[in-house]
């Protein structure tokens, strides 16, 4: 008989992931039984499953349950990210049916794949071993490759899937080679074992090369420059609901790993990983904010904006302190709310106008045609730019503060200068929406679907309320950032 007690089998730790996976399988079966005209119900079932998974994360808050031989952990950090990811997934599922119907893509597989990607992302948030990190990344990536090409007759969607697949596979190769080298240098695959080894014997060339490769792989998933080349094309070509989901959830999951690995596993050799990460952050801020200025397609603009936002989130990791990590976590939560909102507005406009709806000229005079969409978009743009009293302002303030305390002036200076530059392209969107349309007479107002309207109002209220009372979420982020391994 094998002694199983030492393996640390504890399904409770993985309960949210298991609920999501079970929902995915259930939807897969139901898809065969439900007549094609009623596929909306699959969205309802998926939403219900995600709500149940949200409930299942509650016991993980404040816990410290390492399980399955130290490969996963149930703690506040995982719960914090689970809540962000599940909420994003839930809202995505709710806005999807109408958009998919407008493209003639209402298939059950969409929900199955979205749920599978969710499971991978949540596994990443809980992962404390190189193996589970790899498994989570591949689970989310493979599902997203298919989702990016979900509009399979659309050439752009195909192209986006192919680019994501080839560059994603390339990045996975680097990630894995980095993991192999770290394993070779430390003899451990769990973060706990790695941290112990590194704490005792310091760094070696093999370890540093391994960490370098790991940074390449993770920065790719977080779409941070200079590993961002895929982002604009994939974001533009993928169906907009998929882009919405991908831009928010993938980035959150990637930063869950980056935070846990660098702040929790390699705190003793911060001097060694500071420069590569600072380089990635500075380049992301520069490229993201500068190139966004020249974009004429809103999805591409938001893609470059997302690259810049990845830079801001990385800033909080640089000091290597739990205070800095808390700031990054708060930024991820803020980013989730405002960026989801911005992409949801794009989805709503595209549902009405068709593919041309993502080009910025099509947004001229949106205030007069669809005041709700234009008003909420303005809130999200102001928040992404970091203008008070929105949550984006405090998110930036919180990540800048640890930089001042740690006296990291170079990244801080770049961040402040590029933030000012970013006002230009965020505010340009607002100005375009305010410009009166040329044709005489007001075009009839077209109503937005009730679900979409409710979600947009919810996101914009959240953006403002979190901006007025940021300390509530920041305290949660602080609790989550107090990591144990």
């Amino acid at each position: 008989m094998i002694d199983t007690s030492r393996l640390g089998i504890d399904y409770g730790v993985l309960l949210p992931e298991l609920v999501v996976t079970a929902t995915a399988l259930l939807v897969l079966v139901l898809d065969l039984l439900i007549p094609p005209g009623r596929r909306r119900w699959l969205a309802a079932v998926s939403a219900l499953g995600l709500l149940l998974a949200l409930l299942a994360t509650v016991p993980l808050w404040g816990a410290d349950r390492s399980a399955f031989s130290g490969t996963v952990i149930g703690d506040s950090f995982a719960a914090f990210f689970d809540v962000i990811l599940l909420s994003t997934g839930l809202l995505t599922v709710l806005i999807s049916p109408r958009f998919l119907r407008s493209l003639g893509l209402e298939y059950g597989e969409y929900y199955v794949l979205t749920l599978a990607a969710m499971a991978g992302m949540m596994l990443l948030a809980a992962a404390t071993s190189l193996m589970t990190i790899f498994l989570g990344i591949e689970l989310l990536s493979i599902a997203l490759y298919v989702l990016a090409g979900f509009a399979r007759r659309n050439l752009r969607s195909q192209e986006s899937a192919l680019k994501y697949l080839l560059l994603g596979g390339f990045a996975s190769g680097f990630l894995l080679y980095g993991m192999a080298l770290i394993y070779g240098a430390t003899g451990a695959t769990t973060l706990h074992g790695i941290a112990q080894f590194v704490g005792a014997s310091g760094s070696s060339v093999l370890l540093l090369v391994g960490i370098g490769f790991l940074v390449v792989g993770l920065a790719f998933k977080a779409s941070a420059a200079p590993f961002h080349m895929w982002t604009p094309d994939v974001y533009q070509g993928a169906p907009t609901v998929v882009t919405t989901f991908m831009s928010v959830a993938t980035k959150a999951a990637a930063f869950a790993v980056i935070g846990r690995v660098f702040v929790a596993a390699f705190p003793t050799i911060r001097a060694d990983w500071y420069f590569p990460l600072a380089f990635v952050a500075i380049v992301s801020l520069g490229i993201g904010n500068f190139v966004a200025i020249t974009q004429s397609n809103l999805k591409r603009l938001l893609a470059y904006s997302g690259i810049a936002q990845a830079g801001y989130i990385l800033l909080g990791i640089l000091p290597g302190s739990s205070e800095g990590l808390a700031a990054s976590l708060f930024y991820v939560a803020a980013y989730a709310v405002m960026n989801f909102g911005a992409f949801a507005v794009v989805t709503a406009v595209e549902t009405r106008v068709g593919e041309g709806g993502t080009e910025i000229p099509a947004w001229t005079g949106l205030f007069y045609r669809q005041p709700l969409l234009a008003t909420t978009m303005t809130v999200f743009m102001l928040s992404l730019a970091g203008i008070p009293p929105t949550v984006g302002f405090f998110a930036k303030l919180f990540v800048f503060r640890p930089l001042v305390e740690a006296q990291l002036w170079a990244p801080l200076a770049v961040a402040i200068v590029t933030t000012v530059i970013s006002f230009y392209y965020y505010l340009r969107v607002v100005v375009v929406m305010l410009t009166a349309p040329e044709e005489a007479g007001r075009p009839a107002r077209e109503p937005v679907s009730r679900v979409m309207g409710a979600i947009l109002v919810f996101c914009s209220i959240a953006t403002i309320v979190l901006g007025v009372f940021p300390t509530v979420v920041f305290d949660w982020a602080r609790t989550a950032a107090a990591l144990h391994l």
């Binding site: 490759y145 752009r156 192919l162 390339f170 894995l176 080679y177 192999a180 451990a188 533009q236």
Partner: protein, 101 residues
């Protein structure tokens, strides 16, 4: 003991580099995909060699995990490549520029 472990690591490094160069210079998506598989197999070799050198089973388990996951990736990858091919487009990644600005 036979061939020492670092020889395998060198070989794995060479294979990985060849794969990476292949990804960067080849144009056919299928060939690029094969180069990615070469990179992943270089990783497997590294894991197996390190595993033997350290006398721990973690690396071997990791290699099995990589093999399984890359099989799943191949299934999805080939399906996407076939879909592009059936749309009647040239099998050349340099010509995939519908979204360049």
């Amino acid at each position: 003991m036979g061939v020492p472990a670092y020889e395998f690591l060198w070989l794995s490094g060479v294979l990985f580099t060849l794969g990476a160069i292949g990804v960067l210079i080849r144009r056919n998506p299928l060939v690029i995909f094969m180069c990615i598989e070469l990179m992943l197999n270089a990783v497997n070799l590294a894991f197996a060699a390190i595993s033997r050198y350290l006398n721990s089973l973690d690396g071997v388990a990791f290699a099995f995990l990589v093999i399984t996951v890359s099989a799943a990736e191949v299934v999805v990858g080939i399906a996407i490549i076939v879909q592009v091919y059936r749309a009647g487009r040239a099998m050349d990644v340099d010509e995939m520029d519908l979204m360049k600005e």
